[in-house]
Amino acid sequence: MSLRSDDRQWGSVSKLFHWVVALGILGNGIWGLLMTGMSPSMTKIGVYALHKSIGLTILALFALRLAWRLYDGAPQDEPMPRWQRIGAHLTHVVLYGFILAMPLSGWWFNSLHGYPLQWFKLFNLPALAAKNDELARTAHAIHESLFYLLLLVLIPHVGAALKHHFFDNDNVLRRMLPFGRVNRDKTSQGELS
């Protein structure tokens, strides 16, 4: 498996970015939804600090991922109807927007609330806005809503990947799976054992 992508499949760097960001966003999102109900305690402070640190990591990974994507390129689209190809790319653009907006809206909310922002206790990041309690409530609602919207966008993304894998038997999912091997022969119906 190559680090770089080729015209048929994603390279291992792109795969790593995809799955780490995917698991990070889902995990951190669910973590975030659960933590808001906690009563004040040192544990809550720690839980929030971890949520913020993971979110910032996702933001940094997203920047690296974007840079890598521009450098590395992407495999050619699998054969599929035009509307599916456009839909897939549109979904990816929207997902990229959400991956960026999730941590940024959290950072914005954190700033408006006047909380410090620290990355794994190692260094602090500046506030994006001045303290404003009223706007902080709006920002929190936006931060939370963005996650629900992201989950909605995941329905066509994941749904299409599964549909292509199980019904069309093509390489759409296989070429992004961590240890997946693409079927080089377009006419065969899967890997020969």
């Binding site: 040192m42 720690g46 602090n124």
Partner: protein
């Protein structure tokens, strides 16, 4: 033999003795005076202050032996500009104002450190009494003066934010104390 007190001689003796008998001047604290503290949370510093406190100040730079600060602080009046923090501070984990509504600082001695005057005293906070020293800057102004003090204490010495909040990598160990007093002579 008769012993006659000569008024002029007595006046002279009293005048010579006066500096030895003199005591520090008493002052009252005027509006505009502040009592603040500062610490850090998650690597970011924050300032707080107490809205309610009283201080009895007797001070004279040349009469340090008879100078005295006596300060009482209403701990429930702590404000740090953050609702979460301000609602946590009076709680049992921090100041525990239900059990210990006030903090009290009283000087035991003053000493000179180079040109700097240092007030040594005992601070009683959250049921614990420990020595705390404050740097003193006293500037006479007419019949009054301004008094600036600064010092630092370790919050865990007094059990402030002990227990689950004891982690000093999250809440800083050292708390800086600063006060600016506008004084009027009594």
């Amino acid at each position: 033999m008769t012993f006659r007190i000569r008024p002029r001689a007595l006046a002279l003796v009293l005048a010579l003795a006066a500096p030895c008998l003199a005591t520090a001047s008493d002052y009252t604290v005027q509006p505009g005076s502040t009592l603040g503290f500062a610490d850090s949370f998650q690597g970011s510093s924050f300032d707080g202050h107490f809205d309610k406190w009283t201080a009895a100040i007797s001070y004279d730079q040349t009469q340090l032996a008879s100078s005295k600060f006596d300060v009482t602080v209403d701990l429930s009046s702590a404000k740090t500009g953050d609702n979460d923090r301000d609602s946590a501070l009076p709680g049992a984990d921090f100041f525990d104002v239900a059990k210990f509504p006030q903090a009290h600082f009283v000087t035991t001695a003053f000493h000179q450190q180079g040109s700097q005057v240092v007030a040594d005293g005992m601070l009683t906070l959250r049921g614990v009494t420990k020595p705390v020293s404050l740097n003193v800057i006293f500037k006479p102004q007419g019949s009054g003066a301004t008094l600036d003090v600064s010092g630092s204490l370790k919050r865990l010495d007094f059990g402030v934010g002990g227990g689950q909040y004891a982690d000093t990598s999250v809440i800083g160990a050292d708390v800086k104390i600063t006060a600016h007093l506008v004084l009027k002579g009594k």
